[in-house]
């Protein structure tokens, strides 16, 4: 087996050390955890600066801005079009710069303009998108042919068909009752209260299922970390053994 370079061994040990630091948190807060926590906050903030600078800022702003400036040296195209393009590329930067008004107490209210733009665009995009994806699509998914459902239940197509038919009824009734649970305009009383109660039962069964479903993936992650530590021990003994 090829021996591991001293550099790789060093970095592997750093990674193993940090793994132990984080695991130590399970016992209690301690200096090792605090060290790892503070280290990784700085590292990740710096990493994101690099990512955003190299990807978003250059691709979306700096490069197009330069292109629109150099376009003036080009004979093709109308001057008005070029000025328009330049404005389109200058403006977001200018709006972004308004954020820096926060650094001064007197002007900090100016920073609400970019925030207003940000929230306005976000809310406008979200409104039809959520109504479509979360409301209309889900409603349409509940439009099932009752004849095929009853066919599955009563036509004697075997247990599998029977339970599938029942399941589809559970979906329709369950989701309507779930909505009843969230209904704010009436108290949970009478028939309506019964529906709301059935609704919260269905919600709880669904939550339990989601919980149970993720356990395996979480244990897999722990196994992944433990395997890394075992590998590191192996590499370490190989490194000092050779």
């Amino acid at each position: 087996m090829e021996s591991i370079s001293i550099g790789t061994m060093f970095w592997m040990t750093v990674a193993a050390f940090l793994t132990f630091c984080i695991f130590s948190f399970l016992y209690r807060d301690n200096p090792f955890y605090r060290f790892a926590e503070h280290l990784v906050v700085g590292i990740s903030a710096g990493y994101w600066i690099a990512i955003l600078y190299h990807t978003s800022l250059t691709d979306l702003w700096i490069d197009p801005l330069f292109a629109s400036v150099t376009a003036f040296g080009n004979a093709e195209g109308s001057v008005a079009g070029k000025i328009g393009m330049l404005m389109v590329n200058i403006l977001p930067g200018a709006i972004g710069l308004l954020m820096f008004s926060r650094f001064f107490k007197k002007t900090s209210w100016v920073s609400r303009w970019p925030i207003a733009y940000y929230l306005g665009v976000s809310a406008g995009v979200a409104l039809p998108l959520y109504l479509q994806g979360f409301v209309i699509r889900q409603v349409a998914a509940n439009m099932m042919d009752p004849r095929s459902i009853f066919g599955m239940i009563f036509a004697g197509g075997g247990a599998a068909n029977f339970f599938q038919g029942i399941g589809e009824i559970i979906i329709i009734i369950g989701s309507i009752c779930g909505l009843a649970y969230f209904y704010f305009s009436a108290e949970h009383k009478g028939i309506f209260g019964g529906a709301a109660k059935l609704g919260i039962w269905i919600l709880m069964i669904g939550f339990g299922a989601t919980f149970g479903y993720t356990v395996m993936a979480r244990i897999s992650l722990l196994i992944g970390r433990l395997n890394y530590l075992i590998e590191w021990v192996g590499a370490l003994s190989g490194f000092f053994g050779s």
Binding site: S220, I223, L226, N227
Partner: protein
């Protein structure tokens, strides 16, 4: 207040729970306890394809996983690589997700060393290039287009294995081990556009989304998460990390359920259940 065993169990320090979970996950990794794992046809068909390729055939195993997804996909990648190397197949690999390149390079090298494979003769690692869609498309024309040099800065033509290997038409099939949404690019471009036979290894959670491609014949095999890896390990007769993990996972589940039962017994035995 009576301080009997039930009360103490009710207020058990959480660290005991942590310790038990840690131990029951860790011990099966050290000691092999066999758990029956059923072999599914979609994993078997990947194995069968690799098993029937003649010695010396070139196979492509692109790998896209990173430290946060390696727990599920690394055992699978290793099992497939072991199978290929043990059968004397030649392997071309890429890593089109930047976060995983170092990891994948290590994995490939480690497994190749196990079988005394020589770089350039038995396997080639092309490494990383940004914009996976375009890289996948360009490799369909020629590997040398996106990768004039391999990961170690060798000219591809200087590597004896690459002689006569121009593009996907020179490889028998692709087994893509992928934790990213880039899976779709391999399906659409490598298989869809260039018609290479493609099999996938993906994480357990997203595996359910890809059964449709299996049925439509766009992929010839599918491995999902640790379970898929465990099956593959069994097929090559070398039960390793994934099979141990299956035991860990099973035992950990049992213990979590035991904890729930103990918690409930304590709850009712301590008399709090009656008051509630």
């Amino acid at each position: 207040m009576k301080n009997n065993i039930w009360d103490r169990l009710m207020n058990l320090d959480r660290r005991w729970v942590y310790l038990v979970i840690g131990l029951v996950t860790f011990l099966p990794i050290l000691v092999m306890v066999d758990m029956p794992v059923q072999i599914t046809s979609e994993v078997k068909s990947v194995f069968d394809r690799v098993e029937t390729l003649p010695e010396g055939t070139v196979i492509m195993i692109p790998m896209e996983y990173s430290p946060d997804t390696m727990a599920e996909l690394q055992p699978m990648a290793r099992a497939v690589l072991r199978h290929c190397f043990s059968r004397g197949l030649k392997v071309i690999s890429t890593a089109l997700q930047i976060q995983g390149v170092l990891l994948i390079e290590q994995d490939l090298r480690t497994i190749a060393d196990e079988y005394d494979k020589v770089y350039g003769e038995d396997y080639v690692f092309l490494g990383y290039k940004p914009y996976p869609d375009i890289v996948i498309l360009n490799m369909g024309e020629n590997f040398r287009k996106p990768f004039p040099l391999d990961y170690y800065n060798n000219e591809l033509d200087d590597l004896s294995m690459m002689a006569g290997v121009s593009n996907y038409s020179s490889v028998a099939c692709i087994v893509n081990i992928n934790a990213t949404s880039g899976v779709d690019s391999w399906i659409n471009y490598a298989n869809g556009r260039y018609g290479v036979d493609l099999a996938l290894g993906v994480t357990a959670v997203i595996a359910t989304d890809y059964y449709a491609f299996l049925q439509s014949g766009q992929i010839f095999g599918l491995m999902g998460g640790l379970k898929g890896a465990a099956e593959y390990e069994r097929l090559i007769g070398r039960k390793g990390v994934a099979n141990k993990a299956m035991t860990s996972v099973s035992v950990a589940h049992v213990f979590i359920i035991l904890f729930i039962i103990i918690g409930n017994v304590a709850f009712f035995a301590s008399g709090r259940g009656n008051r509630a």
